[in-house]
Amino acid sequence: MGRFWSLLFLMVPVLGVGIFVWAIAGWWPIQNHWLPDNINDHGHVIDSLFNFILYLTGAIFIATGLVLFWFLWKYDAAQNAEPVKYSHGSHTLEVVWSIIPSVTLLFIAIYQMNAWADAKLRRPEISRTPGPDGKLHTDDDVVVLQPPLAEVTGRQFEWRVRYAAADGILGTEDDVQITNELHIPQGEDVVLRIKSQDVLHSFFLPNLRIKQDVVPGMKQHVWFRANRTGVYDIVCAELCGWGHYKMRGRLTVEDRSSFNRWLADQHTKQTQAEFQKPTGGEE
């Protein structure tokens, strides 16, 4: 029993690493618990950042766990008759273990800046022309940003989607409105406007590596380029109330022509101005 605690604490790094390896390998019973398929051109940047930070913190986690185990094992009370010695610490050691994390954090902060700017600041542009100074890529460039394809409004507990549709302008009479169904064209830059009707939500497209907190009173934009067709999840990643778990939507990535067809079809349904009972007779 003497070394019960040291062995128990050794389990922390062992199980911690074990679960990650298990999940990455996708063994039973935790298949599909690692990162979902990436369908965004920009997604690999996010993934490599994630992996870099995971391996870095993973290495430190293992080292800390092992050191903790070693101390518990070596200085177990049952095996050591020597009295406890107190020290006032080592100045050098403290300087070293303050500087190393600071430098590491600073490195990460600088290393990720481009990824952040691509995801949050450099919204796709339709055109960019030189401003009064006659030079391109300066602060006074005349930039036309890509308008949103659709506006997604989070609401307890659903996603309401409003497409700019034919005229390309949101908030006009031809907008197509539908709930929980987001269709986007494949292989094109897509900009979405994200809003909330009530509380904080977080608009999360796991396969596109897009996550944006939705703040009431703010309009925010996300953009991406989906490179594979298929049906994917939209989820809410911010606890927004008791029904948070059911705040799911369906993202359909399809080629441009089927997207246009779908949108036109929804518009036709939405403007239905005649009604006749279906005459299928009695079943």
Partner: protein, 473 residues
Amino acid sequence: MNDRWKVAVASLLATCALCAGCGAPVAEFRRYEMYRRLQEKSLGIDPETKTYYTFDAQQQRDVDDLMWAMFGTPDEPSVPQLADADVSKVVDLNLLQMAAGPVGSDETGRPTGLYREHCAHCHGVTGDGNGPTAIFLNPYPRDYRAGRFKFKSTPIDTRPTHDDLKKIVTDGIPGTAMPSFRLLPEQEVEALVHYVKYLSLRGQTERKLYETLTQLEAGERLINPAAGNSDQGQTQFKERLGLIQGLASEIVAEWIGAEEVDTHIDPRPKLELVTFSLPPEEEEKSGFPKLKEELFKQQAVSSVDELRSRLIEQLDVGNQPAEEQDKAIAKHMASASRQIGQRLYYAGKANCFSCHGPSALGDGQTTDYDSWVTEFAGKLPKRADFAEWVALGMLPPRNIRPRNLRQGIYRGGMRPIDLYWRIRNGIEGTPMPGNKQLTSEEIWHLVNYVQSLPYESISDPRMAEPENQRERM
């Protein structure tokens, strides 16, 4: 064994016991206490005790037993077999079982308990609109037991069609807490709709039973199965059973009848000059005679050709291709149509502004209550009248507000046919009346006007919302 091990083992056992020990209580239907009280009050004051009559405990037990015999329990629902009406046309027992019971799945992997998973927390196990989360919502969830539903294609005092309820489940109700269940498989949505109809049938039957109680002598049993010993008791039992089945049959027949109600809507005439040249017999049905008359009068012309050339001149599109000319004329016609709608809005046969307000903000009247309140508390209830009913399960009443028509949020759906039905049929249980006097053409002008309201410049809230902008890198 050392103490530490003992503690570890004991806490493990305690955890297991905790996890296994707490099951959910068996779900039960709640009595329709409010309706019981309403019926008791309808009998007036008992001169001896100087209080309202009350049904006795045996009578209440008879109602409970009958409800159980006809409709089963939340875990095992059933529907009564009736001679005069085919219940299976309204409620499919097989689908009902998918929606009923605790959340889970059966041996074949088919989900069960869908109602409790998706609906019961707001609408309540009984469908009384009083689930645990109901009190936090505005508007409150629907109480199905009266059989009244707001957003449907059928007129007031008829049941909704199956497709009406299905649309609400699929699309949700924008502007309320009712979410969309679009992503559920079709069969599960069907199961939920059947369960809603079942709860509604059940509630309506319960109401009828309490109404029947008012016709009995004090202390007389509603039904007495133990009376079989005497011939007279037997006959009376059979008679009563027949009566109760008859009541249930009437309710079921109403639901079946709703599917037969004529809800068709003639196509909205296109805003093209061609619709003005229809033969007179078709004009009433698929044209815009009133709009034609109006434009003829405005332009002081007497033929469609004349009108066309006059409009082209007026709109200054003479030197543009025919296609552009048609577009400009359609735009002019749309605006004329909206003007007719606007006149109807403010006066005459529609008179919408008296409730929806002079600027259509839904502020014309704000002190009414819906029929789920007025049925009990009276047509013009005072705050003090509510306490009695709140004690019996009514949620603290809130005023019913007319829709703000400038937001473009339409609870019953945004399709032109939805707006048409709302104007033609009214909204059951609310002060919004149906309007049988408006012609189909007039309703379409109103729909055109109402649909334009959210896009008038004063309706646009975009200027008030700051965009999240930052310096670009």
